[in-house]
Amino acid sequence: MSHSEHAAPKNGLANLITYNKDIPAYPYIIVGLILLGIGGIGALLALFKGHAAVYNVSREMPWGLLIGTYAYFVITSTGLAFIGGLAHAFGYEKYGKVSKRIVVMAVAILLAGFTQIGLELGNPLRMVWMFITPNFKAPIFWMGIFYSIELVILFVELYLVFMPNKSNHKLSAIVGFFALLVGTIATSNLGYVFGSLNARPFFHGIYFSTFLVISGITAGAAMLIIVHNIVFKGRIPSELNDTISSLAKLMGMGIGIMIFLYFWKIMSSLYTEPQGSYEAVMAMLAGPLKLNFWIGEMLLAVFIPLIIIVTNSKNPAMLKIAGISFMIGLFFTRYDFIVAGQMPVLREPLPGSGVIADSAGLAIYSPSIVEWMVYALGWGVFLTLYFAAEKFLDLNTSEHH
């Protein structure tokens, strides 16, 4: 491929450094650095002023934007790891052709996600107690374990894709398989983190564990389509046409399954008005989250990308729009599911109860400016790391074993 100025590295870290003059990475790195600056200020405000002073979460709504954005990033990462696992472990050569980008992006997005949870937790340093007095029954304990293991596996994958050696083929397959497996377990366990909340019926059942995995894979495909369009300035090399086409199909299939899951989740939450689920779904369909749901989740994450994929499956530029639309819409998907599930207040907002709710009896929440700044930090981490890798490493997979 024509983007690297010199040949692929042979060995050693220094030899990995290259300069890809044709890849338009600088605008993204600059935007990333700006977002890092904004997010850094937000992080400092959160650390020095205290979360209570700068975040809008409350007793009624303990989890807000940052849990949503944590899910947004880390689930996209495990979705990418899933696609990478299909390549390495199951021989999907179309994805193997972009395996470097998959692994680098999965690492960058996972690290972006860790910034969100790191700044959401009030006492992240006390996580050491998870190893001294672990509660093995707590889903959050396993969330920490699985995502940590996933990061280690991704770093091993990173090593393997940048130090290709035929003797590593079997090892790559094993590591790729475990990246897929642990990623899927981590994400489905994240669904269980919510599903284990006794007070929140909206989160109960298999729905979120399934939905998060499927939407994560879809997001991974969307991100790969977007990035390849950026890197190749819309002119996808012919050898990658089938990869992009296959990713579009994967995305379309993912959205199709999401529609199926959406439909039955909504139906089962509406019919007979089960307490807790009904109020949450109504908050999305016709309540405070209705614009998020109809415009963000339905229009941007479902209908627009699906229509584009069905009508323009061979047009990379249109598929890029589908990917961007999906990733914007997915933000609302993640945000809504966190917020909607907590909206039904747990006690009546009566005088003296201390409960604060709107006239419909739903908890009130709107992210603070500092919460948005921390979200910007996540994007800053991803854009800076990933596009620096695009600029200074050779992410083209010349040969996939």
């Binding site: 205290g50 007793r59 937790l121 009030g122 672990p134 707590a138 284990s196 006794n198």
Partner: protein, 185 residues
Amino acid sequence: MGNNKRYAIVLDSSKCIDCKACTLACKMENDVEIGAESYRIWVSLKVKGSYPNVSMEMEPSQCQHCENTPCQSVCPTQATYKTPEGVVLVDYDKCILCKACMTACPYDARFPSHHHHAIEKCTFCYHRLAEGREPACVETCPPKVRVFGDLNDPNSEVSKLLATKKVSQMKPDRNTRPRLFYIIG
């Protein structure tokens, strides 16, 4: 303190005069900070009927010290734990402030404490029990709405009340098996 005790509170809400002595005593005893969302116990006012046939009911409440404990189940560090007597407590030093316990509690009984830099809740004034004293909210209540005692002691007042009175528990559909019992009628 022996391990054969099972502490509980029986409440007779009909006696409540909404004097707020319990909420104040709780704040004073436990150094609960001031703030709209910082409270361990509360008294909800329920208005029933319509003018001119209106009545008001008080519903004092707090952490239910559930036997099946949703907040403890989701705590990754065992910061939330149960004493042998079934009192649900928080080891503030272990709390990572993930707020899973707040999200899991069906009774909205937990909140972030800036003093402790942790999530806190009603402790049944556990520090007083070893001295043979009752929780502050129980001790201070003029009409004796709350009765505190040991369910394993058949001669305790709580056991006698439960044996003779009809009681209900909050949100039985959550299967939490609370240690707070409300006398009905």
